[in-house]
C-alpha cells in the first residue's frame, strides 16, 4: 500500500534532478491543450503518457505544462514542444501511442516527428 511516508524517499531521489534542472536554461517545455475540446478529444491520456515516458527515461530537463483552447479544436489533442533556440513544433491529433516517439525522436534526439505535426495535417 502506498503511503505518504514514501514521499520522503522520493524527495531524496528527486532532489538531485531538481538541482540539475535549476542550473540549466535549456529545458524543453511540453504544453498540452487541456480545454473542454482537448479533454473531450483525449488530452488526458496523452498528458499522462508524457509524464510516464519522461519519468521512465529520467529526463530532468523536460517540463509538462497545460494550456487552454488555442482555437483549433478539430485538431485536438494538440501538444506544443518548445525547445530553446528552435522553432515551436505543434503536434496535432495526438494519441498515447504517438507519445513515445515524440519523446525519443524529438525531445531526446532533436528530430521532430514530421508526420504528426500540424504541417502534415494539411493546414
Amino acid at each position: 500500500m502506498k503511503s505518504l511516508a514514501e514521499l520522503q524517499a522520493l524527495k531524496q531521489k528527486a532532489i538531485e534532478n531538481v538541482n540539475l534542472r535549476k542550473d540549466r536554461e535549456d529545458g524543453v517545455r511540453v504544453v498540452v491543450g487541456m480545454a473542454t475540446c482537448g479533454i473531450a478529444a483525449g488530452a488526458r491520456p496523452v498528458m499522462t503518457s508524457f509524464l510516464e515516458e519522461i519519468s521512465k527515461r529520467n529526463l530532468n530537463n523536460v517540463a509538462v505544462e497545460q494550456t487552454g483552447c488555442i482555437g483549433l479544436c478539430r485538431l485536438e489533442p494538440i501538444v506544443e514542444v518548445y525547445t530553446p533556440g528552435q522553432e515551436k513544433v505543434t503536434y496535432v491529433k495526438m494519441t498515447p501511442d504517438k507519445v513515445a516517439r515524440v519523446v525519443s525522436d524529438h525531445i531526446v534526439n532533436g528530430q521532430p516527428v514530421a508526420e504528426y505535426t500540424i504541417g502534415a495535417a494539411g493546414m
Partner: protein
C-alpha cells in the same frame, strides 16, 4: 465526454482559470441510495448571479477570460440523462461551488473513469494550487490533500515526473482500496 472523470477534469479547469489557490474535489458514491455525485469547490474569482444563470447555456462563454464554455452544459446534460442535475452557487470574490448528481445505477450514467489520472493531471500541472480530495464509496473513505504532500516534498515540486508517477499509483490504490479491490496492509 465519455467519462465522469473527464467532466471533473474539465470543471476543475474552470476553478484553475478563476485563479483559485484551494480546490476541493469530493466524490460520493452510495449504491444503496443509488447516488453518484461529485462537487468542486474553489476560492477563485467567482461569478455574479447573471453569469451563474447563463453558464448552463452551451452558447455562452466569456472567452476572453475563458471562465466557462461548453463544459457545464455538457455536464448538465450528462447528469440529467440519468435523472440527476447540476447545482451551482457562486459569489464574486469568494468562489464557486458546483455539484453534479447522477443516478448510480442508471443505464445512461457514464462510467466514472480514471480519477487517478484526472487528479494526477490537475495536481502536476497546477503545483501552486492546494487540492483536497475526498472519495466515499458505500461509507469507505479515501482522502488526501496536496498541502501535506508539499510539506514533505519541500523544494521538490509536485510537477516532478517521478512524483507524478507516484501520485498516480497512490491515488489509484487509494480508490481501489475503498472499492474493496485491495486488502488493508
Amino acid at each position: 465526454m465519455q467519462e465522469i472523470s473527464l467532466n471533473i477534469l474539465d470543471i476543475v479547469q474552470n476553478s484553475v482559470r478563476a485563479g483559485a489557490d484551494t480546490i476541493r474535489v469530493e466524490l460520493f458514491e452510495d449504491i444503496p441510495s443509488d447516488v453518484l455525485s461529485f462537487s468542486v469547490e474553489d476560492n477563485g474569482c467567482g461569478m455574479d448571479e447573471e453569469m451563474v444563470q447563463r453558464v448552463m447555456d452551451p452558447f455562452v462563454t466569456t472567452r476572453t477570460t475563458r471562465k466557462v464554455g461548453m463544459g457545464i452544459s455538457l455536464l448538465r446534460s450528462a447528469a440529467q440523462a440519468t435523472g440527476g442535475d447540476v447545482e451551482l452557487r457562486s459569489k464574486v470574490g469568494e468562489g464557486t461551488f458546483i455539484k453534479a448528481t447522477f443516478s448510480h445505477g442508471h443505464i445512461d450514467r457514464q462510467p466514472l473513469g480514471n480519477m487517478a489520472d484526472t487528479m494526477t493531471s490537475l495536481i502536476s500541472m497546477n503545483g501552486h494550487i492546494d487540492f483536497y480530495y475526498k472519495h466515499t464509496y458505500n461509507g469507505e473513505v479515501f482522502e488526501f490533500n496536496t498541502k501535506e504532500m508539499k510539506e514533505i516534498l519541500g523544494e521538490v515540486p509536485l510537477s516532478d515526473p517521478t512524483v507524478a508517477a507516484w501520485l498516480r499509483e497512490f491515488i489509484g490504490e487509494g480508490i481501489a482500496n475503498i472499492y474493496g479491490g485491495v486488502e488493508e496492509s
